[in-house]
């Protein structure tokens, strides 16, 4: 398995280089280094000399991909792409255009993002699987029928509606929790209650239906019939045997997103005033801060690859027949 993991991680290198190249190309198709300089220097009293100085100091005065003024390897190494990309592979994200350390910023903002994303993920997973199993348990009864109706209704509503509606009802009308805000330590709870509840509810419809489908498929298999024939209680069949055998499709969708939980949620964090990473990339795109954009895209793609590897490993844990070679 170790060889497999090492091989997968080595495959990640060309993927990350490719992602970096695409990010670089897309960014500089829209924004030139001159635009970046103007964005930073402001709209008033900006002269070409000031723009040149800004670019020179930050290394944006070089050609983007190929430097025809240089010879040999320097043609490719003395470029913005090479100089800005290389350091990221040792996790040196450098500084944002406003001079602040990107790694420090990511570390600081990761915690609030996780504070919402982790409870939503764990509670959500438990709730969706439980509800799905209950619906399967009560399949073909009014509980199952109404469960599906409610799931479809929940799926049909935009997550933004849940947030605004939740803030209006629970925060504004009933005054039960703060409408928005964040604090560390013990005060964190009152701020996270509403976003976590809304986070769980807003995804409940789609996820519960998805898990219900998986479990229903398992219910038709022979081992379930055998278990029933042996006289096992239905609840035991569901919560022990069916759940365990349905883990492969569940893990496929779940494990891959675990590392991405660090990156937070744009809308939720924005409405609830959570100082997380959710808006970091979009703010950087708006302010044309390439240093942040490339760092965040690199981190996102890297975490996704880690998620995929973890998914593969998790298969071996739930199904002993699977071997990673």
């Amino acid at each position: 398995m170790l060889r497999y993991i090492i091989r997968r991680l080595l495959y990640a290198i060309p993927i990350l280089v490719g992602v970096n190249l695409i990010t670089f190309t897309l960014f500089f198709v829209i924004n030139t280094p001159d635009d970046m300089a103007r964005m930073n220097l402001g709209v008033k009293y900006v002269t070409p000399a000031a723009i040149e100085k800004w670019k020179q100091e930050r290394g944006y005065d070089k050609p983007l991909l190929v430097n025809y003024d240089e010879n040999g390897l320097s043609k490719f190494t003395s470029t913005i792409f090479f100089e800005k990309s290389l350091a990221m592979f040792v996790f040196d994200f450098g500084r944002a255009d406003d001079g602040r350390d990107i790694a420090y910023e990511i570390k600081t903002r990761m915690v609030p993002s996780l504070a919402i994303a982790l409870p939503v993920f764990i509670l959500g997973l438990l709730a969706y699987i439980t509800f799905a199993l209950l619906m399967v348990f009560f399949r073909a009864t009014y509980i199952d029928l109404w469960g599906v109706v409610i799931c479809v209704a929940l799926m049909s509503i935009s997550s933004l509606f849940y947030i605004i509606g939740g803030q209006f009802l629970i925060g504004k009308l009933w005054h039960l929790v703060p409408i928005s805000g964040y604090a560390g330590g013990v005060d964190m709870g009152k701020f996270l209650l509403l976003p976590v509840i809304i986070g769980v509810i807003s995804s409940a419809g789609a996820n519960t239906r998805w898990y219900r489908t998986i479990f229903l498929e398992e219910m038709g298999k022979e081992y379930v019939r055998t278990a029933r024939a042996k006289g096992l209680p239905e609840s035991l069949i569901l919560f022990k045997h069916v759940l365990k055998n349905a883990m492969i499709p569940i893990l496929t969708g779940v494990v891959v997103i675990i590392p991405l939980l660090f990156l937070g949620s744009l809308i939720s964090e924005s409405f609830f005033g959570i100082p997380g990473l959710g808006s970091y990339t979009i703010e950087a795109i708006n302010s044309q801060d390439f240093a942040i954009v490339r760092a965040m895209v690199f981190l996102g793609s890297m975490l996704y690859i880690v998620g995929l590897v973890l998914t593969d490993i998790s298969y071996t844990l739930v199904d002993p027949r699977i071997r990673l070679e």
């Binding site: 220097l41 420090y104 600081t108 504004k172 009933w174 005054h175 409408i179 805000g181 409405f271």
Partner: protein
């Protein structure tokens, strides 16, 4: 069964205890610490995170609300007086201005501008002003700085300034002001006003070149550039409390710059302290942690969440103004006349990116003031007459009041004068284009625009100068006669017929080019718009359709838009300007020929160039505000109105809502260091918060009941299923 009932009873009891325990005085939805409830704290929100707090770099309106409370330039605007009046802040008196000829002889105050080689501003500051407590000033028993050469070990547990075990201060001197002026030329700071100031402050450009050379020779990151070692000809320390600034020629507007944080003092110790690489790696920089002498100091800087300003314990003291405008006494704005400032102990700015939670928290009393978004405008404001507004009854019931002020800004639609259609190439074409522009000026109804798209929050512009700025005229004398007639005591837009007549005279009768027979098509360059702006663009098309002109909207991203403007490739465009200071020069230079965007990289986006206007501008810019200057301005504006390089658009009116406990608020769009004058009645706020935010518990009970009622049949069905037998077996048995 008894045992189970016992469990249910216990659960219900536990829920009841939890609910009852929450029925205390504290509101459940209070986003702040309960211990701060009755403290003298101002709570406000911010949307955009500040990028720079270094006074040499910061130039955004969202940053100045912080920096203006911390840094103290020598001058400030009088808080209550209108029009804007300059008064000393740290200066002991207003600067003494002396003019000199090229031989160094002093000239009289009325000397001809051509004779003035340079101007010297002598600025004297008050003694006894001290910087806020800061580790940069801390010294040991041998007077050696404690934290100027930090080792790796010493910085291990340092994450913010409060982690330093020692703080100290020192007296403010003239050297600190001179040091900051030198910082404007620092090659690593990229001060946004460097290029402008280099044209005026003697030797600043050469000083920057010297510094660049030094930096180029020492490329390492942790190199400390000691500005004290390099003299700057244009700035001299006279004594501990006096310094001179030497300006090339005459630039009377320089005095307004002395109210901005660009000219606030920076102690060299701070620059030295913050230059340490170990601190930079931890984002502990002057750009993040300011060092000032102002009424407040930044004690928490988390721009994603919260910015906290605490009262500066070393603040030199200042008194609330004793004079104001006639209405100020009635409005209670002079109740605190002469009392020591500041009134508020702490300011907490919370980041609130979305308008809905921001607005709702204001209504709950958790923010002391709020702007008004378009989505909450009808809920907050009702219009009661011509441009007059008041709060709605709901707001009034909460004790919320409205304060409005016209911003020293202008939003306009510009014509590119280099464009052959709207600008004209030949003399004849220029005359034709002028009539075309005049016709469009009449057709585009900005009164309607303000009413529909700005909720009435604006004043139609008759020229570039905003109300409240010298040079602006009110009433009949101030109307634009090309677009308006004065009827029944007010300006009335000319009829569309007169616009059509002008259009025909321009060679486009009924919107058809008489020379080619083709319909007239004009191009409106805008930055990429959201779907919300579509109605605005549709409205604009309809305005042009009144003249049968087809308006094609060319939407692009902001970078490409700026590029088009720089290269003169746009035809019609929208732009705006926020004045830096209340002088007509700061508006009229936007149409000064040498300030053209194309070729000169100036601020004249329309590329307007009128010889007479240019000459009058050069004459006017160096004059004092008197009748003669007004006469010149009148002539300049008359030229502009007839040439119509802009549709003059409108001057925005800024509305602010304030709770009843927030006092001494008078909008002053030029002064930003105003929090020191404000006052909070914390007891009243706490009382109102408690009244407005009592938790409503019945929904919780309802949810519990519904959940229980839903679970019972499910539980019964579960039991039935688990105890039941297979259907086939059951039939067989029966």
């Amino acid at each position: 069964m008894l045992v189970k009932n016992d469990i249910y009873a216990r659960i219900i009891l536990l829920c009841a205890i939890v609910l009852m325990s929450a029925c205390g005085d504290e509101s459940w939805n209070n986003p702040y610490q309960a211990a701060d409830a009755d403290k003298n704290i101002l709570y406000n929100a911010f949307v955009e995170r500040p990028k720079h707090l270094d006074p040499a770099q910061s130039y955004s309106s969202n940053e100045i609300q912080l920096t203006a409370q911390i840094y103290e330039p020598p001058l400030q605007y009088h808080y209550l007086k209108q029009p804007y009046v300059l008064v000393p802040l740290t200066a002991s008196r207003m600067p003494a201005v002396s003019y000199f000829n090229k031989d160094g002889y002093r000239l009289s105050d009325n000397a001809r501008v051509a004779d003035i080689a340079y101007t010297v501003y002598e600025i004297s500051i008050k003694p006894g002003i001290y910087f806020q407590p800061h580790p940069a000033f801390a010294v040991d028993e041998q007077d050696e700085f404690l934290f100027h050469n930090l080792s790796d070990k010493e910085t291990t547990k340092i994450y913010q300034l409060s982690d330093f075990p020692h703080m100290s201060t020192r007296e403010l001197t003239a050297k600190d002001y001179v040091f900051q002026i030198k910082r404007l030329a620092h090659p690593k700071l990229h001060s946004p006003i460097f290029e402008l100031m280099a044209d005026y402050i003697q030797g600043l450009r050469e000083f920057a070149t010297t510094l660049e050379k030094v930096v180029d020779e020492k490329p390492e990151d942790n190199f400390y550039l000691d500005l004290n070692k390099f003299p700057l000809d244009g700035v001299q320390v006279v004594d501990d409390y006096t310094y001179h600034v030497k300006i090339k020629g005459k630039y009377p507007q320089f005095i307004f710059w002395l109210t901005m944080p660009f000219f606030a003092p920076i102690p060299w110790e701070a620059e030295r302290f913050y230059s340490q690489q170990k601190l930079i790696e931890k984002n502990i920089t002057l750009d993040w942690f300011p060092v000032g002498t102002g009424a407040y100091m930044l004690t928490e800087n988390n721009p994603n969440q919260i910015m906290v300003l605490d009262r500066n314990p070393n603040f030199h003291g200042e008194s609330y103004p004793t004079e104001g405008m006639p209405g100020d006494v009635i409005n209670g704005l002079l109740d605190d006349a002469g009392k020591p400032l500041p009134f508020i102990e702490k300011i907490i700015y919370s980041r609130e990116r979305e308008s809905i939670p921001r607005w709702n928290k204001f209504l709950q009393g958790y923010y002391d003031a709020s702007g008004i978004g378009s989505d909450s405008f009808d809920q907050a404001v009702q219009l009661i007459g011509q441009g007059e507004a008041t709060v709605t009854d709901t707001m009034l019931a909460q004790g919320i009041r409205l304060e409005a002020a016209i911003a020293p800004s202008t939003y306009y639609m510009g014509f590119n004068m280099l464009d052959p259609v709207v600008g004209g190439i030949s003399e004849r074409a220029r005359e034709s284009a002028k009539k075309l522009r005049q016709a469009i000026s009449i057709a585009v109804d900005y009164e309607e625009f303000i009413s529909i798209f700005a909720n009435g929050r604006g004043v139609p512009a008759h020229g570039p100068i905003s109300p409240g700025v010298p040079g602006h005229r009110e009433g009949e004398a101030g109307i634009n006669p090309v677009v308006y007639d004065w009827k029944d005591g007010r300006a009335q837009r000319k009829s569309i017929e007169s616009a059509r007549t002008l259009l025909a005279e321009a060679g486009y009768p009924d919107g058809i080019d008489s020379s080619t027979g083709a319909p007239l098509v004009l191009y409106f360059d805008v930055t990429a718009r959201s779907s919300e702006d579509k109605s605005m663009l549709d409205w604009m098309r309809k305005q042009f359709q009144k003249l049968n002109i087809q308006l094609v909207v060319r939407s692009t991203d902001y970078n490409r838009f700026q590029d088009k403007i720089r290269k003169g490739n746009a035809q019609i465009f929208e732009w705006g300007w926020n004045a830096d200071y209340p002088d007509p020069e700061n508006f009229l230079f936007l149409l000064y020929g040498p300030q053209r965007k194309v070729g000169n990289n100036g601020e004249n986006a329309a590329n307007y160039d009128n010889e007479e206007y240019n000459q009058l501008f050069e004459q006017m810019k160096n004059m004092r505000n008197n009748a003669e200057r007004q006469q010149i301005i009148d002539r300049m504006i008359d030229i502009l109105r007839h040439d119509a390089p802009w549709l003059w658009g409108y001057h925005p009116r800024i509305y602010g809502l304030y709770h009843s406990w927030y006092k001494n608020v008078k909008p002053n769009r030029m002064a930003h260091n105003t929090v020191k004058y404000h006052k909070i009645d914390a007891a009243l706020r706490q009382q109102r918060r408690q009244e407005w935010n009592k938790p409503v518990l019945w929904p919780l009970v309802l949810v519990l009941i519904v959940a229980t009622l839903g679970l019972i049949p499910a539980f019964m069905a579960y039991r039935r299923r688990e105890r039941g037998v297979a259907l086939g077996l059951s039939r067989h048995d029966s």
